[in-house]
Amino acid sequence: MSRVNTVLGPIPTEELGLVAVHEHIGYGMPGSELDTRWWRSPEQRYEETVPKLRQFHEYGGGTFVDATGICNGRDADYYKSLSAKTGVHIVASTGFVGGDTALPFFARASVEYLAEHFIHEITVGIGNTGSRAGIIKVGVSRGGRMTDLDKRIYRAAARAALTTGVPILTHLAIDAENAITIFNAEGLPLDRVLFGHVDDGVNADKTRDTWIAEQGGRVGFDTFGYETELPDPPFWARPRKERLDHFLRFIGQGHLGKVLASADANCSPLGWPGVEGHTVNYIFEDLIPDLRAAGLDEAAIKTIFVENPADFLTIQH
């Protein structure tokens, strides 16, 4: 039986449909909850979020993977209500976006404790929500090199992935040598890891995407839509054509089976202004039309958005 954990319970892989593999209902750095400038009422949150998910569903979107880490405003009860009311499957993460988003309790924890925590959230549930995490988030702290804490989190994630069969999604794919060393040492097959953000404007040049694919890792072009053409682009934006060309070039090198794509958009950001006009629906409104215009056939598009994510997300036994 093939299954994937969603916030409303396990679903068969066959039901995932088109997957947005790296998105956020709402992301905020830990501590941002203390700063009232970012607060919105629950009415505003639903108002900003529900139409985007409904639109995603109407476009044919099946599953929204929320890549928000433990201390970043992840809110499984809220995701449950959104999923139930919009019909979009939502997969929640355990793990951390990076060591610099893990609060002191976890920053001080041992690899063993972190692994136990991740496994609990995957097999028992997140807090008392009953929602089981379907993916493990890890990442590289600001600064470009994995910190000791980042490494402990990667190692714990590898152990939890091996124990539970749930895959790992990384924030940033820089310093991948260190990441792969850890995964290899723990015996985790690299096709259980999606090395994300290989396409972002700050790090694309420093990211060894081809090498990662050659090692067997999956490669995430998952910041589509953060473009320098936007009226107020974030610092990680990149010219639209440059990113698209990068993606097409990578696929052209024979890596279609390794790629996943997403928009990393916030439905309603929790601790930052967000990027006006950028939503998960970039996938339908811009990216897929761009891929078709570039000559990709429907089978290739299905591979990227349906088959690869299904392989990746399916719990391994």
């Binding site: 501590g31 909850e33 201390c71 001080r108």
Partner: protein
Amino acid sequence: MGAQTAEDTTGSTVNTVLGPVSAQQLGVVAVHEALLSVVPGAEYGFDVTIDRAEIFQTLAEKLKDFRRHGGGTIVDSTGMFHGRDVRLYEALSRTTGVHIVASAGQGPEEMLGGYFLTPQTNPPTPWPAEKFADLFAKEVTEGMVVPRVERRGAAGLVATAATLGGMTPTDESLFRGAARAALTTGVPVSIRYGSDAVRDLEVLLDEKLPADRVVVGGLDRKDAVAAGAPLQVATRGAYVGLDHAGTEDDAHITDAERAALVAGLVEAGHGNRILLSSNATGVAKGHPANDLPYSYVLTTFVPLLKAQGLSDEDVQRILVDNPRDLLSVR
């Protein structure tokens, strides 16, 4: 008496979780305690249970014990990001009759969330003093944050701390921000110093915060006592927090030494600058609690002071008048 004369606090008020209270009504104050103490992030730990009813019962019993032994006011000095639960404290205060003063502030650096240390800017520059000042001051003027829900009550002080190994640049921003928030709002600052109590105090004074708006806590640490810091802090006019009464470990002096230290400061004319507390953790999550009752100073430590020859007036000044003067909003 020492060079400092107490402010006239007749008409002053203190910010408690149930609103402003006349400074004259505080009674005996424990100036550095913890009600609910949660290491940031522990609330998400899979094996950490947070049962509000159970926490309430535990804390209510401890507060009633404090009151039974003559206590009037508890200051929760854990700041705004270490388990502070304003609504719970309101209910506790209503139920037990103990005044509860809660604190704004946070620190040291390692206890901060990434929002303050590696913000989503390029480069990720840590927060400067001015932003901390605004964050802390609003906790007094607009109310204490219940994260992403509402503001409630007004913080009665700003509590912060420096890294044990020595003040970091972000710690310094926290200290300067705390000082500025205290200047604009009139509440005092409570600090835990890093490696040098006097130097860390100077950072606040450099912001033109009057010394008598500051309590330097943890001055019953062995290293501080060895360096003569308690007397130096008192000489500068700040309050000397001897706030680990009941703790005798590698880092702290014994109760007997603590009592002798108090007597020495009184002798030197600094009786109006001494504050006592026990740093009791009412309920701890994510770290070990100590088993001290909030009444420890009243039941166990005061007799040691009397044995040192302190008068009832001395004790009254330390337990009632000094914290009243400190906590009065200026």
